[in-house]
Amino acid sequence: MAQPGQPDPAAAIEMAKQEMDYRVNLFNAMVSSCYEKCIDKRYKDGELSVGENSCIDRCSSKYWQVTGIVGQMLGAQGGMQ
């Protein structure tokens, strides 16, 4: 998308902002998705149980894998352009 060797500062700043926006959105979606899947909502106290902690780790990993699968599919059919 960006041609190397053609430095346009404004465009580079815009790209960096876009990338950050994307990463923040991805992170937030991962946080809220795994919260729904893993956290006991009775809130007896503020501690994460052993089960919740390991669920969070696996959930993060699986979520990441889903981004990979979907990313490849969109890339393959040019859906991200």
Binding site: S33, E36, R58, Q65, V70, L74, M80
Partner: protein, 103 residues
Amino acid sequence: MDPNLAAMQNLPQAQQQQLMQAIEQMQVRDSLRMYNSLVERCFRDCVSEFRSKDLNAGEEKCVQSCATKFMKHSARVGIRFGELSSEAESQMQAMMQQQQGGK
């Protein structure tokens, strides 16, 4: 409710370019958001077991079907959206001509 991009035609060359660039940036941003929301949805609908850290075969297949289905769905809504938009636009133009004719 609808058009205004018409206003664009009255812009000087330089601003037209600026606008095109802004629109392109919005499109990149929007397709990245669409990607994020697609991942979120298919994850929510397909993954609900956390005994291992890797997707199992069933989950992987489900995610693929979900993403494919979503993209087909989205494309179909896009076609309908385009039709409904241009219908609305011609109605509005007809209305405006009628009003001007009434002068």
